[in-house]
């Protein structure tokens, strides 16, 4: 079916099945491969994007459900103040190892900071425990979120 979806401020007209998860629309139809496939079942968070500013798992979100709403991906999160602070903190604290899960981690962290500008460890656990990293970068992610929050404190 024909749909219009809004990704990173750009409207895209696409012709896909309404049940196709947003992840495959982004990766296979629009060619935006920054958002990653990890499990296909909302178990790992590698596919995290923002829907109207909130973190969602794009691998289980049928594209037909979200037509017209604002989708933000890793390719554009740097243009939000939270996304920029998170990406900068990720670089400063050298968080990344293989990097495959980090698009999703950054999207989850940016959504967290948008809703809680100065999260404590409990907030971080609650927001980030759905995002798996097999390289084991968790303690650096935690530090980097605090670092990003600190850099945005007045």
């Amino acid at each position: 079916m024909n749909l219009t979806i809004n990704v990173n401020g750009t409207a895209h007209n696409i012709d896909v099945e309404a049940d196709m998860p947003l992840l495959w629309v982004l990766r296979d139809v629009l060619g935006m491969t920054g958002t990653k496939f990890g499990c296909g079942a909302a178990l790992c968070g590698a596919c995290t994007v923002h829907l109207d500013g909130a973190a969602i798992r794009s691998c289980v979100m049928p594209v037909g459900n979200i037509a017209g709403r604002a989708i933000t991906t890793i390719e554009a999160i740097g243009s939000t103040p939270q996304g920029q602070a998170v990406q900068r903190a990720w670089l400063e604290l050298e968080v990344v190892q293989c990097g495959y899960c980090q698009s999703g981690q950054i999207m989850a962290a940016a959504a967290l900071l948008a809703s809680r500008p100065d999260p404590d460890d409990h907030d971080i656990d609650a927001a980030m425990s759905g995002n798996v990293c097999r390289c084991g970068t968790y303690q650096r992610i935690r530090s980097a979120i605090h670092h990003a929050a600190g850099s945005r404190r007045p």
Binding site: V29, C44, E94, I106
Partner: protein, 722 residues
């Protein structure tokens, strides 16, 4: 202490072999170091196959190793940049083509990134490559100024004539340097480590900027004009065959291009992943399970138990352990057992192939590009040079991508497809068709004298030999050097010792490399058992180990450093405990102290892991810390949760719900303390993974008095302090 900069090649070889930690290491000079014959005719300066300097001054390193998170692209570039005297940011990386004749890992003799060897393998060659290039650029400048080379120096991409302060950029010297004869490698001296300005610093990783904005290209991100995407289903029982499928129903799914039938797999080829997945589901595939349809884990463990009654191939025999055992004050015996493990890298298995009449292009993130090339050439009958492997970033490797099986499967599918096809496995296929870290069963016995000191040590380990399939040329007298790594040479003084290996290949499940096989197995057993001996001797676990290390100063050094940093001996709350473990593997010494809490429900929660590592000379301390953090969590995940089981020939686990990764709310803090050393470098990638399972098991014992002899810990009954 000797430094490797002033070591001759022969001596370095000998030292490198001695630091192998059980593995047989010989380092050859990579052929890429041979002077490039075409150098003078080229439009750029390329004194060997690793380096190219173009007239714009861009230095390109032809990167022989794969980046899978371990930071090797940055670390190897640092080795080159240090000697070449260029800023690290000025080094551009290009993945070297698949070519063992130029880019083989000098330890593994094939272009393979594994066994924590990259720094050890390229420590000397890449510094020499940089030094030779610098020498030629400097010589070219000196000629132009008509001065002697030793009156000039190179710094930050510029040659300076010291007394006159005249300067020439490397870019100005490309053609002149290219015309000079390339000197022999050992005629150009390397820097003394005291002169290093880059090696030893926490230089920023070169791959990170692209990875935080979603721009880094992993294998799974391939896009090619006309490319199809394939979902794949492999026979659920290993060795099974395709029986039937409903092809019409599969082809009726919108967006599906074709169904490819192989003897053991089916691929749905479509415009997008979603259509491909739906088509596979619609195909209602029926399988013939073949010979392994009834295999179960229980059967495999029974087989190991039976095998453990037999003597094995002798990996080590010193003194007379049987005699010492007969006259001992006390004998301690224990049986340990560890499970199969999957890799579950975050990037599911995938491979893109464009098969054409006279060539085959393969885009994949792999640890073994040339092995892939060879196997696809054999499959297709194409000459090796017509099979081109374009290596991409790996979304985790952990040894899974040391196997070319997924690449070969993609090539088999691509033979039936017109145009390029990207084959992507589901997470379920990835976990259920992994090649697994073997399960093992170990029988230990030791004799103690009246002071509790071990006077005899016997270790019989039973299980799969991965190297018998993977590196058969390394098997000597029935001994797989990797399978016995960590067992044959414990760091302790054990004068009467017998270590033997009973090889048992499990039916119906493929075994392979992991983030350490021998070490993740044997160090769990050895370090748990030495803890049992300390307890039997009524002695402190650190003091007991220390008393057996009087002739092993580097091992003693890391043990005492970890104990000190972890506040060993300071009281802890009830149901908390500290556990220690020590190892020598991958050419590095490491110790860990784990602080764990056991809940009344038996749940183990690790709060803190203190790592001490002596990996010889340090290339990038921040990367070492990152590898200790990540390696420890990888090992802890396995120790607490990791287990692959078989039922009716099928892997039971399927996704992250039942093959649990550690998550942020469960992750401890990992602290790393690196010993300053001038010894040749050791490996770091797999080090922390092996030490953690015994350290956590020993911590659980300290907290509860309950000894863990079987992993993962979750499979034990609830542990609670009575």
């Amino acid at each position: 202490m000797k430094s490797s900069a002033i070591l001759g090649r022969r001596e370095f070889l000998k030292d490198a072999a001695a630091i192998g930690g059980g593995l047989i290491l010989t380092i050859a000079i990579p052929p890429a170091m041979r002077p490039s014959l075409a150098a003078s005719a080229a439009p750029y300066f390329a004194p060997n196959a690793f380096i190219r300097v173009d007239p714009e001054g861009i230095v390109t390193l032809m990167m022989p190793m794969a980046e899978m998170g371990q930071g090797v692209h940055t670390a190897l570039a640092m080795l080159l940049a240090e000697e070449l005297e260029v800023p690290l940011e000025q080094v551009k990386l290009e993945q070297a083509p698949s070519d063992d004749s130029l880019y083989a890992n000098p330890i593994l003799h094939v272009q393979s990134t594994g066994a924590s060897t990259s720094i050890r393998a390229f420590w000397t060659p890449l510094r020499q490559a940089g030094a030779v290039a610098r020498h030629l650029l400097l010589t070219a400048a000196a000629k132009r100024w008509d001065v002697t080379p030793d009156s000039c120096l190179a710094k930050r991409g510029v040659v300076i004539h010291i007394s006159s302060s005249r300067q020439l950029r490397f870019s100005d010297l490309v053609h002149a340097a290219a015309a000079l004869p390339v000197p022999s490698l050992d005629s150009v001296p390397l820097k003394h480590p005291s002169q290093f300005t880059l090696i030893g610093t926490s230089a920023r990783r070169l791959d990170t900027p692209d990875k935080v904005v979603g721009r880094a290209q992993f294998g799974i991100d391939m896009k090619l004009p006309g490319m199809a995407i394939a979902a794949v289903a492999i026979s659920p029982a290993f060795g099974g065959r395709l029986k039937s499928l409903n092809e019409a129903a599969a082809l009726a799914v919108s967006g599906v291009r074709q169904i490819v039938r192989l003897d053991n797999a089916v691929a749905a080829v479509a415009n997008d992943t979603w259509a491909a997945k739906k088509a596979l589901a619609a195909a209602a595939i029926q399988w013939d399970d073949g010979p392994n349809g009834q295999v179960s884990t229980a059967q495999i463990i029974r087989q190991l138990e039976e095998a453990s009654a037999r003597p094995g191939a002798v990996a080590r025999h010193d003194g007379d352990p049987d005699r010492a055992m007969a006259s001992a004050a006390q004998v301690v015996e224990a049986v340990y057992q560890i499970p199969f493990l999957a890799h579950a890298a975050m990037e599911p298995m995938n491979c893109t192939v464009h098969m054409q009449k006279d060539s085959c292009d393969i885009w994949v993130g792999t640890q073994v590009p040339t092995l892939t090339q060879v196997q696809v050439a054999e499959l297709t009958g194409l000459p090796k040079r017509a099979v081109r492997v374009h290596n991409q970033y790996l979304g985790g490797g952990f040894g899974r991508r040391l196997e070319p099986d997924g690449n070969l499967l993609a090539a088999r599918i691509a033979r039936h497809v017109d145009g390029p096809v990207k084959v992507v496995w589901s997470r379920e296929e990835d976990i259920q068709h992994d090649m697994y870290r073997p399960c093992y069963l170990d029988r230990m016995s030791a004799a103690l004298d009246v002071h509790g000191n071990p006077v005899a040590w016997k270790h019989r380990l039973c299980g799969s030999s991965v190297y018998s399939r993977y590196h058969p040329n390394l098997i000597k007298n029935g001994i797989d050097p990797d399978a016995v790594a960590g067992a044959a040479q414990p760091p302790y003084e054990l004068t009467n010792i017998h270590v033997e290996f009973v090889r048992v290949e499990p039916p119906g499940i493929p075994t392979s490399l992991w983030r350490g096989v021998g070490p993740t197995h044997n160090i769990f057993v050895v370090e748990s058992f030495i803890d049992e001996l300390a307890h039997a001797a009524k002695r402190d676990p650190v003091e007991y180990r220390k008393s057996l290390l009087t002739r092993n100063p580097r091992a003693l050094g890391v043990l005492m450093l970890a104990a000190k940093q972890a506040d060993w001996g300071r009281p802890l709350p009830a149901r908390w405990g500290r556990g220690v473990a020590l190892q020598f593997a991958y050419g590095s010494f490491a110790a860990q102290v784990v602080e764990a809490e056991v809940g009344v429900d038996g749940r183990v929660r690790v709060h803190r892991i203190v790592c001490a590592i002596d990996c010889g000379m340090i290339v990038n301390p921040n990367t070492i810390a990152a590898q200790m953090e990540g390696g420890a969590l990888f090992g802890l995940t396995a120790a607490l949760y990791g287990e692959i089981t078989l039922k009716k020939g099928r892997v039971v686990q399927s996704n992250f719900n039942d093959y649990r990764p550690m998550r942020m709310n469960e992750a401890p803090i990992v602290e790393t303390h690196v010993v300053q050393s001038s010894e040749p470098p050791g490996g770091v990638g797999e080090v922390a993974t092996a030490t953690v399972s015994p350290a956590v098991a020993n911590a659980v014992f300290a907290a509860t008095g309950k000894r863990i002899r079987r992993l993962p810990i979750k499979t034990l009954d609830a542990i609670s302090k009575s």
